[in-house]
Amino acid sequence: MNKLNFLQPDKNNFYTYLYTGVILVALSIFIVFLNSFFNKDIVSFLPGPISFFLPLILGFIGLHLIRIDYSGLRFLDSINKNINTNNFNAFLSLLIVFVVIKSLPPLLSWFIIDANIAGDSKDVCTGSGACWTYIKIWFNRFMYGMYPNPEQWRINLSFIALAFLGCVGFFATEKFKKYLTLYYVVVYPIIAFFFIFFFISGGPIFFDFSYGIIAAVISIILGFFIPSKFKMYYFIIVPITLYILLKYVFFYEELIELGKLEALEWVETGAWGGLSLTFIVSFFCLIFCFPIGLFLSLGRRSDFPIIKYISIGMIEFWRGVPLITVLFMSSVMFPMFLPEDMFIDKLVRVIIAISLFEAAYVAEVIRGGLQALPRGQYDAAKSLGMGYWKMHILVILPQALKLVIPGIANTFLALVKDTPLIFVVGLLEIVGMLNLAKTNPEWLGFAMEGYVFASVLFFIICYAMSKYSYNLEQKYKTER
């Protein structure tokens, strides 16, 4: 038997070191565990500071003893490699483990054990934990804002329909794949706009929307029987004719009748709110800011000096000011710039403001992609006789946009995270609704629950977005 040297553990007496070390580490974790979960201090017979630091000292010595290179045990080796490379690392690892064990019981008790969710009034919240009843009661408001309860199916239906229409790309057959870009860039935003503008806000204008939908459905069904040669003209002429026929010939009499009653109740945008408003605002800003940003970035690299400097001015202006002042501008300064009888809805103004603001950031991101392309691509495209637009659409932009997927995703994430700022103009999306609920005299004192709830929601949305963008990036990655 070799001599034991506890300062330098080695492979001779391997199991002596291993067992002593494991026992010490286990003991230290056990002490902390008992202390935090059962509130029992089994080392209280020791003087204060020593009993406080005892687990740390024991664990530290234990980890030192099991730090044996090439022990032959796979588990031990991986521990040594990952959390126990030297004294400093061992110390930090122990600290992290202890902090996690220490902070678990209070968190668990606040979130689950002492929390209340049953009942439907403030009185049930007697425990020391969270009051999830508050979230349960206010859930409807957090999702839909002040939107009248019986009408909320309209928001649900629109979102479900838009989600389905958004998934079209996954089901498209090879034959239709080439139209997908056109569909997502032009058709889908228009459909979405009609849904939200006419369906969610409702009012007599809803009839126009339903005629439009009927015309579109009929023309698509008929479209399958039309020879492809005429399809282009067909899809321009037939839906419009059908729409006009429906509106002014077939249902004209009924329209006058129906115009007096309201099929769908008019809900003004001031009543929209909650998470659905977050989605609406970020969805529209996302749609609008991308093309604007694209044109700004092309303008900034243009050969025409006037266009170039106008683009630079636009980009630098929007990038230089905080979003909150832009929203202030849209709410207090912009009405001064319009003729007196002209009124633009608050929500529309906000969407325009955020879109312009984010477009400047998108422009800078895209410019990065354009600059990263080698000159050869431009020269090659020109040598094939392509003009400016053809060159950009077919050669430059597909490559440049592929390069900047992460940057654009970051900008979109920033956009989603910026939507709560619309409280400045008095629109209450989910954070605004939380602040409103917090000041309700019947539900005072539950601010924490509300913010935790909203944080979790936003975290899920943003984290999913960033993971999705990462997947996209991997999918379109091409070796250069």
């Binding site: 690892s93 992290i96 003729p339 910026d418 917090k438 601010a447 924490m448 944080s455």
Partner: protein, 381 residues
């Protein structure tokens, strides 16, 4: 000059001019109808509103321009505090992200993913309305280290009371100037004679000795004023003396620095990872010590990658500090674009001044960054 080049430019110019003309025409008519004349004369008028927290002397009898300065200084204050803490946290977390200790690495990653995926406004609200509201009332507060008091009404810290503060400041300035000269001299000496001067120890010595001398001979005198609890009424208590940091400032600075630190951490990580392994190996192979490798080879190259995006984050932090308006911290947006605008009704002038302030700040920083990038760019042949 062919028409194909001029026509699109002229068209764009025309559209821009038309839009601007339309706007300014309407603005003129609207202002005439409301009986306002455009002008910045109101800045010298008496403001007659109070601000609850200001760095310079201010009350209702001062001018609107003074109110603007109060707001601007408060914005700068919270930005500077935020930048300092964001840098410290960001660098620590960024280095932790690079650690090969699995636990440390994961903890840092969780922190980064969590805090940057939650809207900043939500974080500010969380700290202000939820976390800081859980603090004790002044009379129940246990002092931290005997002198700091963290209460629901704010953070009370001891203040220094100085005699002859200016002499002390002059001594520090003198120390800094002499350090700069010594550095230049040492560099020249190394280039000419190859002898290294211990600049670091000399500068630390100077920074210590000169202020101490000012205490001994310059008549500088400092004492500490500890906040003392004082009863205002039956149940109302407050602290007197010392410096009071309002809860708005604390929660804003906390949220800003925790949020921005996640981005700075990613910048730091990208920067250190961006230095290729070959550089470190090459440096080690010519006989540099590990410290020298870090100081002379890795850090200069990593900093070149880290600094530009980090400056961008500082700029973002400064712009994000305008969210102060949401929790009534009297920054530029709240004082000037909020209260002053409500009182005067001069929307165009005030919003334009506010925007110009932020704009000039960010443009000057981006001009500086362009200059810096050009200066440190690797000169390739």
């Amino acid at each position: 000059m062919n028409i194909k080049k001029i026509l699109p430019q002229l068209l764009t110019l025309l559209v821009v001019i038309l839009v601007f003309g339309f706007f300014s025409y309407n603005a003129q008519i609207n202002m005439e109808n409301r009986g306002i004349t455009f002008g910045y004369g109101f800045l010298s008028q008496e403001s007659s509103f109070d601000v609850q927290f200001s760095l310079i002397e201010y009350d209702g009898s001062h001018s609107y321009f003074r109110a603007y300065l109060v707001g601007l200084l408060n914005t700068i204050l919270v930005s500077v505090i935020g930048i300092i803490f964001a840098t410290i946290i960001g660098v620590v977390v960024g280095i932790a992200r690079l650690s090969n200790n699995y636990l440390i690495n994961r903890t840092a990653a969780v922190y980064v993913e969590f805090f940057r995926n939650i809207p900043l406004l939500l974080q500010i609200f969380f700290w202000y309305f939820a976390a800081l509201r859980a603090l004790p009332l002044p009379q129940d507060t246990e002092p931290m280290f005997g002198v700091f008091f963290l209460t629901i009404k704010g953070f009370f810290v001891p203040a220094f009371v100085w005699n002859n503060l200016d002499v002390f400041i002059y001594s520090i300035i003198a120390a800094i100037i002499s350090i700069i000269f010594i550095r230049i001299y040492a560099k020249k000496k190394q280039e000419n004679e190859g002898i290294q001067t211990p600049v670091l120890s000399i500068s630390i010595g100077l920074l210590l000795i000169l202020p101490i001398l000012s205490f001994l001979f310059g008549g500088v005198d400092a004492s500490v004023e500890i906040p003392v609890i004082k009863q205002l009424s039956q149940s109302g208590f407050t602290f007197e003396g010392g410096i009071k940091l309002p809860p708005e400032l604390i929660s804003l600075a906390l949220a800003l620095s925790l949020y921005t630190a996640t981005f700075i951490a990613e910048c730091v990580r990208a920067g250190v990872q961006g230095v290729s392994k070959g550089q470190k190996e090459a440096a080690a192979s010519i006989g540099l010590t590990p410290n020298q490798v870090l100081k002379l080879v890795v850090m200069p190259q990593a900093l070149r990658i880290i600094i530009p995006p980090t400056t961008n984050q500082y700029l973002n932090l400064t712009k994000n500090s305008s969210l102060a308006a949401a929790i009534a911290y009297p920054d530029l947006v709240l004082v000037f674009a909020g209260t002053a605008l409500m009182q005067t009704g001069r929307a165009i002038e005030i919003v334009s001044i506010t925007m110009l302030t932020y704009l000039s700040l960010s443009i000057s920083i981006s001009i500086f960054m362009n200059w810096y990038n050009k200066k440190i760019a690797i000169k390739e042949k």
